[in-house]
Symmetry: C2
Subunit: 236 residues, 2 copies
Amino acid sequence: MNLILLFESDFQANATIATITGRRLNHVLSVCQARVGDELVVGLLNGKTGRGKVLSINQSMLELEVKLVEDPPEKLPLTLLLALPRPKMLKRILAAVSSLGVKNIYLINSYRVEKSFWGSPLLTEENLKQYLMLGLEQACDTVLPGISLRPLFKPFIEDEVPRIIRNTMPILAHPIALATCPYDIQKPATIAIGPEGGFIPYEIEKFIECGFMPVNMGKRILRVEIAVTAIISKLF
Amino acid sequence: MNLILLFESDFQANATIATITGRRLNHVLSVCQARVGDELVVGLLNGKTGRGKVLSINQSMLELEVKLVEDPPEKLPLTLLLALPRPKMLKRILAAVSSLGVKNIYLINSYRVEKSFWGSPLLTEENLKQYLMLGLEQACDTVLPGISLRPLFKPFIEDEVPRIIRNTMPILAHPIALATCPYDIQKPATIAIGPEGGFIPYEIEKFIECGFMPVNMGKRILRVEIAVTAIISKLF
């Protein structure tokens, strides 16, 4: 947690005094070991970043005097279409892509996504938001990426993807593609990344019909979190 | 585990029949759900990769008829000088850099590395090897990266680093550097990556004296595992 994310609800009596409890307080107590007078890096969810001066702190509550003056770092002009990962990896992957500055995320279906994943209790709006906020706290960002679930592949690729990729470079990560991933493209992109085992040929055909360029990422099979980071880092 | 790593000790009576137990057997039973006659991707530690045909399988043992014919994927011409991460992150970071194909790893000291990390029971040769092998199994590689511990910064940077960086592009990841990270450098590199909080000015000076080019990775603070993946992916 390199930035303490603040919410409108933290400011009650006064517009500049935030009162913090729970996980964030525990972090400030145990990791930052902050004392009265210390300044902490803070940011308002979907707002500006700045400093919070510790007015009081104890085991149950932290009071900060907050000055929000700077814009958060810019997002990458990037939409990620990611086959829904297995639930136990979801938290880390969403935190990673959020820390990298991805602007929009669609968690999509694919033949090789296990049906049971879509029934996971982790997939609530609130949980997804929590995972994304871990990435914001890491990267000193405040702006939540957009996130949407698309449990049906066909209507998504036919009806929505053509609009999503408009004015972007659409790229499909595909292990056996001939082209290698381009570097430093300096323009908006949409990246599609398959599940463990990859998209099936029908799905790949649909992406290519839409205009996606299949690119390989080398011979090594990487964990999704690492593959996503690798492709984003080459492109931007 | 996209490749089952085999050891010389798995081949006892016969040079082409491997007998497997423990963690690898559990994976084949529960994830691959392999049956007699199935072929699995295998590789001999520090040797070739190929296929293993299931001759027999039960809860206590798997017998494979092994054909090793292909070279493993090439390593990146890259040496990583990484400030020793906190022990609970070490396993994942080593698995990640091993999966990415890093050739040599030095875990080094820095003022901001907590002294206690060097006393962690995780830092045995055997444990480090295990973590690196997780990355090999992920990436279908067989060749262990070199790994060395350097708990003293000054003798390392003064006596060893000049030799390590010879004929490579030496790069220092440094948040406030003016230069951005180069792309697709097409030559050997040495990358130095600091601890949480970064190298201190004295250390940065020493790296620059050696000839390291400080580069920034953008405004976002990334987890070490993600930062390492990001810089490697830009360079290669």
